[in-house]
């Protein structure tokens, strides 16, 4: 893959993220978030994670933005009392956390190393056996829905839960109590 492009997109993603945080107008920050998701989805497409890219395109850039905007219209659009100053103590905390992250990355296998443990320990079997065991060339699908289908079940339940939660929290009734 073209690492220049990769790099470029990463930079833009970072810019989008920061400006989405900084934006005064919530609507614009929602739009920036959508852009962010879209760029990230491109990034994944570049990394060859087409399924993830697809769902990010639909969910991240599409639906969640729609939900976001809908909510903003329900509530208020302005971010009141937007502090321009940067709080020092949380910043330090965050930076320390970041240092921990980076510290963790030092011993990591190189980016895209075909010999990394992740690539050699468990996953090869999925690629080798998927066709003969599940007759499904798309390894992601076979892993998703067969090898680790219980995770997917749990995940579907999560979605279901979210739906129920929204109903419970939001659905009005003729009752007095809500």
């Amino acid at each position: 893959m073209i690492w220049m492009l990769d790099f470029l997109i990463l930079v833009i993603v970072l810019i989008c993220a920061i400006s989405a945080i900084m934006a005064k107008d919530l609507l614009s920050s929602a739009m920036l978030l959508g852009t962010f998701s879209f760029l990230v989805c491109m990034l994944w497409a570049l990394m060859g994670a087409v399924d993830v890219a697809l769902i990010e395109a639909v969910v991240g850039a599409g639906i969640s933005t729609a939900l976001f905007i809908g909510t903003i219209y329900q509530t208020s659009r302005k971010a009141y009392r937007q502090k321009v100053g940067i709080k020092i103590f949380p910043l330090i905390a965050v930076v320390l956390t970041g240092c921990a992250f980076i510290y963790g990355t030092i011993d990591m296998p190189d980016w895209g190393d075909p010999e990394s443990p992740a690539s050699v320990h468990v996953s090869p079997r999925y690629i080798e056996k998927t066709v003969e065991e599940t007759a499904t060339p798309n390894a992601v699908t076979s892993v998703l829905a067969d090898y680790r289908s219980y995770d997917t079940f749990g995940e579907t339940v999560v979605i279901f839960t979210a739906g129920i939660v929204c109903i419970v929290l939001l659905r009005r009734s003729d009752d007095k109590k809500v």
């Binding site: 639906i63 905007i69 329900q74 599940t134 060339p137 798309n138 992601v140 067969d146 289908s149 339940v157």
Partner: protein, 152 residues
Amino acid sequence: MIRRFKNVVIETVCRLMTPFLQLFGLYVIAHGHYSPGGGFQGGCILGSSFILMAISYDIDFAKKYMSEIKATVYACLGVIIYGGIGMVCLLIGANYLDYGILHTILPVDLARARAMGILGIEIGVGITVMAVMVSIYLNLVSGGRHVEEKVE
């Protein structure tokens, strides 16, 4: 509902796009074995088609096709399909979600049986995801009101 604006272009374009969107969603679900996609992606696409309706027209229009109750029922239905397939495997005598066992009741070999199982649960996932996405959206933008009314 956000803001009701009559705009012929948007309405027409959406009216035209919606069937194709839904068709594409079904394709993504069904063709997940051979190409990127699967239950989640397809379900989200289906859901977004309804959301598109709701945006371009208004919520009532979308509710004509996917009312809240219907969405709720579909949501349950999807997960029940998923869990049900698992239970079927369990009842036939294999472990939970072990589709391989399905070849005893389906006229296919073991690998195909697994593919079938995968297809089944993808469908289940698709239904649930679609329904939940729609229901979340409807609940959010309508603030949970059953009957539609202007916000501002």
